[in-house]
Symmetry: C2
Subunit: 376 residues, 2 copies
């Protein structure tokens, strides 16, 4: 397994400071799925690689595409190019991506025997991910921090049981309601696997980690707490909070989880990601904390479809999101490490493959310009 | 247009009383899409009709399938068998349903010219719906009340712009963000059309009406209030509150709208529908009101996937939902029309076509038995 070599010193720590609720000169911004199909250079690399997994498993290609959006836009963070389903793939479920379709598992987990066979996979099977992390971190050369990530235990279970995407989650919820014992066993294995996986990413060079609970929002109230939140907490209990004496911020994003925000505020993490249905001002009041007190940094939450409008409308919508959060923490004199409510600008979900790349530049510039102004 | 003849007196007014926050002996229950593909007798009628629209536009068939679930289960309400997209179809958009697929419009509305052409359709084009309402009401013969319905202005717009279902609502949101003027014009026409449509259903015999805002939950905070809620309010401002001296309860259901519940509590309607992500107890506190005071009846909200579990688990989950609402209004002595918090049991979304019909019986019986016990 890769171990962290000595990497170049970080030149832009805005994102990491905001994660830790420390003051910054502007609101940092990065975009979920920022290395992706909306970029022609990504499509060119993917064509060379032959397939999505060909791209993700090749260190050079993964490094190349991770850095592509940074060449175009002054983003404040990079995120590992990979997929949330690498862990169940390493468990032997046989991940594949048909062109133009979502992920598929050759061996979905649908009965007691299949659940019984599940185990935390040998991390050596995921070495390609850790190698990519180290390679990307080196290639970044300290420009911006690198975020590692994983799917949440529940979100992995959705795909593991359904075998693919779903619009009703019938199979996984059938297991949840009819055999909660099997579901709990699967989620426990997933949680331990995800924690091991994220720790290995941290050792390899990830400077922050994010748990994508993409499908937490499809659960019923009550079921969410038992089958998603509890296992996200189990991951967090095992993931490193620092490495080589440096804090490693931990981000949790539950799409559609806005109703459970105050419960998510109890998680032992630094940042909560929010989708566009949540009012940032209300979220800040609920979990953003006070200067000097405990609280979560908030990440999000513009509707990715705003990027299909014209430049003026994009700016207006960016300003609305920043205004909705309100004035972030300003640096107090004499205490650069004072803490208070902070915001990391992002989309409320992954960027659409149909996004015009020039519109992303408008968004990123608007975040930087307007948020610097807000602090004056 | 049909006008309401004299119909048989109502034998089971539990649903209507609960809508008006009046006490009942048990919690009434009906299921969204209760007349549907999970029933073999429905599939047989549909096969005779040849197509979904063949079924919906034929008075006898529409009546037959509406009554089918009532023959099997002691449900407390019937709902008109129809589709939410009849109104845009009458506007000339050309609705069709390919077998096994969702609805499709031959002429989606995507530019200024198409929006300019939109107008409230001649209700004569929807006569088949009103004829079905009158026919069903007669066939019900007073057994349970009949609910009429429509899609919300925003939900209709989603389909009108996308031309079909969507998983990202890119086209409709592109219009919303880049040409809000067009979107507002379309929504105003839709609102006036929906109000006219619901009033005609009431005249034809509908005893309650429901607005399905199935896609309100995909909007961003802020956009929801402007582009969905405001136009639902515009519908409500025009829909009859009583007919022939009898109150006509008005129900609004926004799937994924839990975060906006207190704003929805300001709507001039009687009942708010909730999906399974909402905690019923919390919703009751927020908008359910106090005995004698104002408030909304609440309708929902079990996860339809519970119906794939065994009978014991179904009962347990039904009890959880009823317990989560808590004890409903008990009839005070000497005042049968006193008001207070009430609950109408339903799914949080339409029933799945894969549901085993015998499990629906378990659910309905559990609601009746346990909720009667709750009142003791």
């Amino acid at each position: 397994m890769s171990t962290s070599a000595s990497f170049a010193p970080l030149q832009n720590d805005t994102f990491l400071r905001a994660c830790l609720r420390q003051a910054t000169d502007h609101t940092p911004v990065w975009l979920m799925r920022q290395a992706g199909r909306y970029l022609p250079e990504y499509r060119a690399t993917r064509a060379k690689a032959g397939s999505f997994m060909g791209l993700a498993t090749n260190t050079d290609y993964a490094t190349e595409v991770t850095l592509q959006p940074l060449e175009r836009y002054p983003l404040d963070a990079a995120i590992l190019f990979s997929d949330i389903l690498t862990v169940p793939d390493a468990m032997g479920l046989g991940l594949s991506f048909a062109l133009g379709e979502g992920p598929k598992f050759a061996h979905p987990v649908r009965d007691e025997a299949a659940v019984a066979k599940l185990a935390v996979p040998d991390m050596d099977k995921l070495r390609y991910v850790f190698d990519a992390v180290t390679s990307i971190r080196k290639a970044l050369n300290g420009r911006v921090p690198l975020i590692g990530f994983s799917g949440s235990p529940w979100t992995l279970s959705c795909y593991m049981v359904e075998g693919a995407g779903s619009d009703d989650y019938r199979l996984v919820k059938t297991m949840l309601y009819s055999r909660p014992d099997l579901m709990h066993r699967m989620l426990a294995v997933n949680a331990d696997a995800v924690a091991t996986y994220l720790n290995a990413q941290i050792l390899a060079g990830a400077q922050a980690v994010m748990i994508f609970d993409s499908w937490g929002g499809v659960l019923a109230d009550g079921a969410f707490q038992q089958f998603s939140l509890a296992y996200t907490a189990r991951v967090l209990a095992q993931v490193k909070k620092e490495h080589n004496g440096v804090r490693i911020p931990r981000i949790v994003f539950t799409k559609g989880g806005g109703l459970w925000l105050s419960e998510m505020g109890q998680l032992d993490c630094d940042v909560l990601g929010l989708d566009w249905t949540v009012n940032l001002g209300a979220a800040r009041k609920l979990v953003g904390g006070q200067p000097g007190g405990p609280g979560k940094a908030l990440q999000g939450n513009i509707d990715p479809n705003v990027l299909f409008a014209g430049p003026e409308q994009i700016k207006t919508e960016v300003h609305k999101v920043l205004d909705s959060f309100g004035t972030p923490l300003r640096a107090p004199q004499n205490d650069a490490n004072a803490t208070g409510p902070t915001h990391i600008f992002n989309l409320g979900h992954g960027i659409s493959q149909h996004t015009p790349p020039e519109n992303v530049a408008v968004l990123v510039d608007a975040v930087h310009a307007y948020s610097a102004q807000q602090r004056k």
